[in-house]
């Protein structure tokens, strides 16, 4: 284990390296590029024995990853924004085929207008593609999620691809200290990928076939169960991770000072630490506030949310996303879970950070004070009328 000063992308690349993928296929797009550049360098130096495929598009990146996964190879790809949308067709394909590919997505705004900066429109657009989705809060978690995601994806109960999301630039390109395990440290954490769900010269298969109305529901149901099974597997994996590396993670959500909180902001990604900082500040002023981070959006942490929000006076969902004509996608998901539990406190939605706009602590403080008005609704933060 060494302490390094790395960007989120570089940290993630080290996590991939420790996972020993057989095949990496990727196409460059800002702000994903530095993760694949780093991996290409590691391959060149012989520190990572993987076949790096220089594909000609994102669609091919994921299509090739599916091909490699379909013969039982451990496979990684990475993309962002337009690239993710360009490969969109292949996402449900990989999920439906139960191919445990791990993909890093550098969260970035989607055109139009063109914008290369971070928001979560891209991955949230594809929330329903059948992939497990996680969101890292810092570079350390990025590295750790890379390693854990292969474990989770490849577990036979899950057999589902995982998309790990890193906030574009604010995480992908921001440098901070990261504990990087050595190959020896990681030895044994991630078992070799074994599966029967593959093309095999010994037992040939027809794969990725058609299933008509008679059997389609059954396949989709099993796919659904696979994503749900990730709940337990994530928990097991984190226990194992703590034993190996000493760092503790908290499952589908992470909470900060929520036990007695009256007002809670729910968010995801790097914004979590900003909100926590704000929580500390407000707690110093005797305000009962807290923060909850959705580490995973699929499987969706319904039970955890319901439990965490017992007794609060109001909840705000802060996200870098808007589902046009409705509300933020995360907000929709949160409201659905809360409604099913009979929660009837106000829950409002704060749309911030679109196209990479900074979300300073002052904005978060304002959100907390707005929560006290205890009203529902969707608000665009920092919008001048």
């Amino acid at each position: 284990m060494t302490k390094e000063f790395l960007s989120g992308n570089e940290a993630f690349a080290y996590g991939v390296k420790l996972s020993r993928p057989h095949v990496i296929s990727a196409y460059p797009i800002t702000p994903q590029t530095t993760v694949v550049e780093k991996l290409a360098t590691l391959v060149e130096r012989g520190e990572l024995k993987a076949d790096f495929i220089h594909v000609e598009s994102e669609h091919s990146a994921l299509s090739a990853a599916i091909g490699a996964s379909a013969v039982g190879a451990r496979t990684f790809t990475a993309t962002s924004s337009q690239g993710l949308l360009y490969m969109a067709e292949c996402l449900p394909y990989a999920a439906g085929g139960r191919f445990p590919i791990v993909m890093m997505n550098a969260n970035r705004s989607t055109a139009l207008p063109w914008n290369i900066y971070g928001d979560q429109r891209d991955s949230l657009t594809l929330l329903d593609s059948g992939w497990i989705q996680s969101y890292a809060k810092d570079a350390q978690e990025a590295l750790d999620l890379a390693l854990m995601s292969f474990y989770i994806a490849e577990d036979k109960r899950v057999a589902t691809p995982v998309m790990v999301n890193l906030d574009g630039f604010t995480l992908t390109h921001t440098y901070e200290a990261v504990e990087v395990p050595s190959d020896d440290d990681a030895e044994g954490f991630l078992p070799d990928y074994e599966t029967d769900n593959k093309l095999s010269l010994e037992e040939p298969k027809n794969m990725a076939f058609t299933a008509g109305p008679d059997t389609n529901t059954e396949f989709k149901y099993k796919e659904h169960l696979g994503v749900l099974a990730a709940r337990d597997v994530i928990s097991e994996c984190e226990g194992r991770f703590e034993k190996y590396f000493g760092r503790k993670y908290t499952g589908l959500v992470e909470q900060y000072r929520t036990e007695d909180a009256e007002y809670i902001i729910i968010t995801l990604g790097t914004l979590y630490k900003s909100v926590c900082e704000c929580v500390d500040k407000l707690r110093d002023r005797n305000q009962k506030v807290g923060c909850l981070r959705l580490r995973y959006l699929r499987p969706f942490p319904k039970a955890e949310l319901i439990e965490a929000l017992k007794g609060v006076k109001a909840v705000g969902v802060l996200e870098k996303d808007i589902s046009f004509g409705n509300e933020g996608t995360v907000y929709t998901n949160v409201c659905s879970a809360l409604q099913q539990s009979g929660f009837n406190q106000p829950c409002s939605n704060y749309i911030a950070g679109l196209g990479g706009r900074d979300v300073p602590l002052s904005d978060i403080e304002e959100i907390f004070s707005d929560l006290k008005r205890e009203q529902n609704g969707v608000h665009f933060v920092g919008l001048e009328e």
């Binding site: 057989h22 000609e56 669609h59 990853a65 599916i66 379909a70 093309l199 076939f209 058609t210």
Partner: protein, 297 residues
């Protein structure tokens, strides 16, 4: 080269499929797999062959076979090959079977990428000259004058007004190790080419003309005959490109009558004698170029 009707493997690998009776594409796939053998890994995009072969629980491939996305035949082959190689597997051949639309239109980017990387795969385009699976729509390989459901022949426009894209030469222009054209009307020639292509380390490509009785408006028993006639009348040619050299496998001394070939197909029913003459002139111009290209060296 040793493959022929007597030496060909008797096992069937593409069996029980639901292709239309007399399907040229099914014949191309069946023969290619028999030539390559049990270690072929077939990659087939959305299209006729996947629609007729992979209907769970009716699964028609005895060797490994997988459906790719429509655009992703070549890229999935790339991944399969990379995965097997990384896992240390040996003695397999990744072979793609995509139609004309899947190859020359939506799949051309991935195909170009695979050839550029010289991935060790064999890509076979079975060309039935339109999107047959979706109900006979024009592709960029639909020939001049053909009626399709998106190039209807009416008073104003007489079917498809574009000439067929030349995939063989586009592929050759990549500097590919080996590529060839073929026709299911000349199966010995096709088998020779599959055998050769499969033996090559690196990307190889075969473009096999495979009539569709349904889409072309011919009787089911005419499929092979028409596939032979299109070569004999000079509207299709059998050629190879290897190590930068083009070679013609068959140079008919005299072409059979284009009009006979055209008139027997419903998709050309609307064409007048003048228009058929125009097609014959296009053919002659093409052959002038071909003769220059292949024989001037």
């Amino acid at each position: 080269m040793s493959v022929n009707v007597n030496t060909l493997r008797e096992d069937e690998y593409f069996f029980g499929h639901k292709a239309c009776a007399g399907c040229g594409g099914a014949l191309a796939v069946r023969i290619a797999l028999k030539v390559i053998g049990p270690n072929a890994i077939a990659t087939i995009p959305a299209g006729c062959m996947s629609a007729v072969g992979f209907n769970f629980p009716q699964l028609c491939f005895k060797n490994n076979a997988i459906i790719s996305t429509f655009a992703g035949t070549a890229s999935m082959m790339t991944g399969i090959e990379a995965g097997l190689k990384a896992l240390g597997k040996k003695d397999y051949k990744v072979v793609g079977f995509a139609g004309d639309g899947g190859t020359a239109d939506i799949g051309i980017q991935a195909l170009s990428g695979a050839i550029d990387r010289n991935d060790d795969v064999l890509y076979i385009c079975y060309d039935n000259e339109a999107y047959m699976n979706t109900g006979i729509q024009k592709s960029s390989l639909t020939p001049f004058g053909a009626r399709t459901t998106t190039t209807p022949a009416g008073r104003n426009i007489k079917g498809n007004q574009k000439v067929k894209k030349n995939m063989f030469e586009i592929v050759a222009a990549h500097g590919i190790r080996y590529c060839a054209t073929a026709s299911i009307g000349y199966l010995q020639d096709f088998m020779n080419k599959v055998e050769k292509a499969a033996s090559i380390k690196g990307t190889s490509y075969i473009h096999v003309l495979a009539p569709c009785p349904t889409g072309w408006g011919i009787k089911t028993d005419e499929c092979v005959e028409v596939a032979k006639e299109v070569v004999d009348c000079g509207l299709w040619y059998l050629a190879e490109y290897e190590h930068g050299i083009y070679r013609l496998n068959r140079r008919p001394r005299e072409f059979t009558d284009v009009a006979h070939y055209i008139r027997r197909q419903d998709r050309f029913k609307h064409l007048t004698d003048t228009e058929i003459k125009e097609i014959a002139l296009q053919r002659d111009a093409k052959w002038q170029l071909l003769d220059k290209q292949y024989f001037s060296k």
